[in-house]
Amino acid sequence: MALSTPEAVDTAPAKSDVIASHTRRWALGFVALAIVVWLFYTFALPNLGTGPQTFVREWMPLGSLNEALVWVICAVGLNIVVGYAGLLDLGFVAFWAIGGYTAGWFMSTFFNQISNGFYFLSAAPPNQPGIHLNFWLVLVIAGCICAGAGIIIGAPTLRLKSDYLALVTLGFGEIIPQVFLNGENVHGFNLTNGAKGIAPLDNISPLPFGPATVSIGNAQIAISKPLGPFDVTAKYVIFVLVAAFCVFVSLRIREGRLGRAWLAIREDELAASMMGVPLMRSKLAAYAVGAFMGGLGGVVYAVHNNSVFPDRFNFAISIILLAMVVLGGMGNVWGVIVGALGLAWFNSTGLPQFGDSFNQQFGTDINFPSYNYLLFGSILVLMMLFRREGLFPETRTRQVLQEAERSDAEELDGGEA
């Protein structure tokens, strides 16, 4: 083996360990940051003066952080499809919408045909019409419905390759929200309430069971108190948990047999099939898992807004999600999280606030938020020019884009065989 890699000997023992410890560090960082943020908003902020409070309310309201977490959940789901399996999906908003409407159907008074209401561990007030299920159950249901939808959408489309697949997913991303927009009269049945949407949603219970009281001695302590639209801090905790679940699933799958199959498909589809990887089934699995998370994101989004409206689910969402994945670093969950948090905050709070400050400072009247796509576009172009692999790329991807490959010239005189 005269022509072995020169640096192989020094790096050989460590690589998998290095990656594992790297992951652990990020995971700890994620948890620590989530806790610090929670402590800050719960305990520190009320004791600070009005100055800092105003600043935080303007620049970093917890509501916008919650919304950013919704984006994180969906982006992590999209990352499975795009980053892991290498299937370009331009219609991810479809799953987001389906998840949102599932929340609308099962956690509101919308189905008033059921006049006495159907309750299951719900925190909603009794004797209302409609279906009222427990929030956590709805999460599971929405995830499963979306996974099923992913398989149904994927089965015909995944036979297509690259660009064609992207185009068809784009079509589905347009069709599904249109279905919700026009679904107020399906043969006389009001399925989606059309453009009026479904609002308000039930208050949710923070634990997987309905409101309950525990008596300790004479004291009655209410646990699992219903959370209304303004319990932002409690919702923050719930959203972080859902996001953490998605991250956990992503990382676990990545290490296993399925993750390797996806990576192999991303690298070389033909070779993968020749090595016994069933292409269709593996791709469908990627779609289903990604869609499951999209569904979770949809429910969480509906709860965050306390409503579902069809016009929220537009094409731009698919593109922004994709931008988050690309910006953060395709394939690396942590990079995608950073990308999602960053872009979501920038879009919902950062840019408008910056615009206000700028206008006040210079007495101008520029509508900054209306330039957001211009700025997104510029950021992406700059990224493609200077850092194509994203902010925090996967180690593997960094290799392709930064390091030289063993040259073709070397192949000619080859190593020994």
């Binding site: 890699t5 050989a12 390797r260 990576l263 690298e267 016994g276 392709v400 490959e405 190593g415």
Partner: protein, 267 residues
């Protein structure tokens, strides 16, 4: 060879015909790989070797004829099913998963022999952990066997050309194949390397107990390693036999020398 009196065959292709539109690429070719043998498929460019190969691996469905692997009829099955049933292959131009480590490359090919489902993977159940551990150990064993064991954690694209060729063999072996198809494995090798390779092929056959089908242009390699040689020309089988028969067969000489007037063994 000693053990080849064995009459059982690991692969039988019977009367294969492949048509592309009006063009007949392979015409009524029958072909047998005896158990634990090394056989070669040769022929001038355009003879239909690759088409035939693709029929065996399931990329093309033959217009007529059947392929039997072991006792199972694999005609028209999808490539991944055929691979799982025990047909491993390497590629003429190396097709490794460049951004996966050598060990991961090998473990991908164990996909069909592992059963953990998505819930077991996420839950890291005992079954899944055992499968992963066994997979890693088997991968290391195979990498050691082909001689790239110390590069197990290197990305495949960073390996040298020769090591990549060996890694491809290790990956194919992870399928626990009955038959291993090698598509022009000595392309890009000099004579000494080819000689080493001949020994390697024999060692794979002996220690892994499988049959090997070789597509090869380098006649010196073919003549040294093969127990039986099948010659295709213009989609038809024109000769079959041991190396000496083939060397002296006038139709083979004509196919290689007669028409173009140049030595056909250039790659």
């Amino acid at each position: 060879m000693t053990a080849t009196v064995d009459t059982a065959s690991s692969l039988v292709a019977d009367d294969i015909t492949v048509r592309f539109g009006g063009l007949v690429a392979v015409k009524n070719v029958s072909f047998t790989i005896p158990q634990r043998s090394i056989v070669s498929l040769i022929g001038p460019n355009g003879a239909g070797k690759t088409t035939f190969f693709n029929v065996l691996t399931g990329l093309y469905r033959p217009s007529s004829g059947s392929v039997v692997l072991g006792e199972k009829d694999i005609t028209g099955l999808s490539p991944h099913t055929i691979a799982a049933l025990g047909l491993g292959r390497t590629f003429q131009n190396i097709r490794l998963f460049g951004l996966m480590t050598a060990a991961e490359n090998v473990m991908v090919a164990m996909h069909s022999h592992t059963t953990s489902n998505i819930f077991q993977i996420v839950g890291k159940t005992r079954h899944q952990r055992r499968e992963e551990k066994e997979g890693r150990e088997f991968a290391q064993e195979l990498l050691d066997f082909v001689g790239v064991g110390k590069h197990a954690d290197e990305y495949a694209r960073n390996l040298s050309y020769g090591d990549q060729r060996r890694l491809e063999v290790a990956r194919a072996l992870a399928l626990r194949p009955k038959v291993l198809l090698l598509d022009e494995p000595t392309a890009g090798m000099n004579p000494q390397e080819s000689a080493v390779f001949v020994d390697f092929v024999r060692r794979v056959r002996d220690e892994r107990g499988l049959s090997i089908l070789l597509i090869e242009h380098d006649m010196s390699v073919v003549m040294r390693v093969s127990e039986r040689i099948t010659v295709l020309d213009q989609g038809e089988k024109i000769a079959e036999g041991g190396p000496d028969d083939i060397r002296n067969n006038p139709r083979v000489v004509e196919a290689y020398l007669g028409r173009t007037g140049t030595e056909g063994s250039a790659r």
